[in-house]
């Protein structure tokens, strides 16, 4: 399955929660990413997130949408790494692709944060 962020969500993903705007990371995670990943998990496929068309990509959006999967216990890190692929062909967007990877790698569940 391919999620084209610009077409399927917004060219201007921004912010973390609804107060930050309609195109926030929570909405992307809950309404698009989680259902797609669950579907992929059931069907033993993968989800490709294509970020080529976006015009903004704040860290708060990326952290909430992608690290939030792990932080909130929706999926564990290994599952996210297996199921999710970020596609990007524009060099100036590579930094966002890499940011998604590093947010996923650094994400901790709320329990882990409390224990720390």
């Amino acid at each position: 399955m391919i999620i084209d962020v610009a077409k399927d969500f917004s060219r201007y993903p921004a912010g973390r929660v609804p107060e930050d705007g309609d195109n926030n990371g929570t909405r992307f995670r809950e309404h698009i990413l989680v259902p797609a990943l669950k579907d992929a998990q059931r069907n033993h496929t993968t989800v490709v997130v294509d970020i080529d068309g976006v015009r903004s990509f704040g860290s708060s959006f990326l952290e909430e949408a992608f690290a939030g999967l792990i932080r909130l216990g929706k999926f564990n890190r290994n599952d996210v790494k297996k199921l999710l692929e970020v596609r990007c062909t524009k060099p100036h967007l590579f930094i966002f692709r890499d940011a998604i990877t590093s947010y996923i790698n650094a994400a901790k569940t709320d329990e882990q944060l409390l224990a720390h």
């Binding site: 201007y12 705007g21 708060s60 932080r71 944060l113």
Partner: protein
């Protein structure tokens, strides 16, 4: 020339009516002025001498005078609101004239920066909303032409409610093109900002060689700034007696001669020096603050620049969640990714400026600008240089 501009110019051109007094208005107590709320201009008596803005309304060139002016303006507006004073009293009418309690003399300043124009517009909008009445201009025909032009370009008269909303969102004047202020509550208007900024970039470089990544970086920085405002600027416990407008203001100006793009985001919120000390901070931040803060400040807000500097270097989080609170450092990172450019953050009485070479300098004055303003000055050509001031 736009019809609205012509209309404003006619208002500024002088009308038939009582002859002007020869004594400068700033020297007189009760004196006659011409006021305008968008309809026909009318004559009124001002009950006291006007407040004088600094000669240059610029946060970086005259910070002390500029911060003090905004504080004075806000205090006067707040006092009028608390006393339920009306903006124009048409009941008293000595000699048939209405009266106004006071005003700002905009014939005096010869320059206003984009940042100062945004703060001024937001304060006038606040005054209009608090009183439920359009704040009038006073002696518009005497206003300095450069100051008038900047305020017109930025949409000041629309925001205050004097003229109807324009459809043209950018206006050219010589070597500059300005995107009028976009007032918004969140990131939903990023597309409008994107269109405006692309328009400004095309103005600076008509060959269309402004790289897309520069605009995307800028929009990303803006998205972070907006998230900062929605997340921190107007917390539930912040309930000032003089009601703020729970939103932010975005404006931008391109300078073709200097090949620069200036983008400003302003909010009337609780400010960094108020929120930052309330945050749970990491050890290295505590060490930095312990070294840099003055134990006994010599004046109010003296430590404000230090708090802003710490927030830009280390970030922080009022929510005490580690995945949050990286707003300002992210903006700094975005600016550094964009190549040469200057980032300035002004909040309450302090400021911190990151120059093109990455160096930070900070300072503070004893007055408050009444919110937080973030300003980027991006160089759109490697050959150009962003001056410090």
């Amino acid at each position: 020339m736009h019809r609205a501009a012509n209309q404003l110019k006619r208002k500024r051109g002088g009308q038939s009516g009582p002859r002007r007094m020869k004594v400068p208005s700033s020297q007189r107590q009760m004196h006659r002025v011409q006021i305008w709320q968008g309809g026909d201009p009318e004559w009124a008596f001002a009950l006291r001498k006007p407040d004088l803005p600094p000669e240059k309304l610029c946060l970086t060139e005259q910070p002390d005078a500029c911060f003090r002016f905004f504080e004075t303006l806000r205090s006067a507006s707040s006092a009028a609101f608390k006393k339920k004073q009306i903006l124009i009293d048409r009941n008293a009418r000595p000699n048939g004239f209405a009266t106004i309690p006071g005003y700002v003399d905009f014939s005096y300043p010869s320059f206003i920066s984009t940042a100062a124009a945004v703060i001024l517009a937001s304060e006038f909008e606040r005054l209009s909303k608090a009183h439920g009445e359009v704040t009038p201009t006073v002696d518009l025909d005497r206003w300095n032409p450069d100051v008038f032009r900047k305020l017109y370009q930025i949409g000041f008269f629309e925001i205050v409610g004097i003229t109807p909303k324009r459809h043209d969102v950018v206006i050219d004047e010589g070597d500059t093109r300005t995107m009028q202020i976009i007032g918004t509550k969140n990131a939903n208007d990023l597309e409008q900002v994107d269109n405006g900024i692309q328009n400004l970039c095309n103005f600076v470089n008509p060959d269309g060689e402004i790289p897309d990544d520069l605009i995307i970086n800028l929009l990303t920085g803006l998205a972070e700034a907006i998230a900062n405002v929605t997340g921190h600027a107007y917390p539930n416990w912040f309930n000032p007696e003089y009601p703020h407008i729970n939103q932010l203001w975005i404006a931008a100006t391109a300078d073709r001669a200097r090949k620069t793009l200036t983008v400003v985001v302003y909010d009337q919120g609780v400010t960094i020096p108020v929120t930052y000390p309330r945050m749970k901070r990491r050890d290295k931040v505590m060490t930095f603050l312990a070294r840099a803060l003055r134990g006994t400040p010599e004046f109010d807000f003296q430590n404000d620049g230090t708090y802003i500097r710490a927030a830009m270097r280390y970030g922080g989080s009022r929510t005490d969640q580690r995945h949050r609170g990286k707003g300002l450092p992210q903006i700094v990172e975005v600016v550094s990714r964009s190549g040469r450019g200057k980032l300035s953050v002004f909040s309450r009485g302090g400021w911190c400026i990151r120059n093109s070479d990455g160096r930070l300098r900070s300072g503070a004055v004893s007055s408050s600008i009444g919110g937080t303003l973030v300003e980027w000055v991006l160089e759109l050509s490697p050959a150009s240089v962003v001056a410090d001031q």
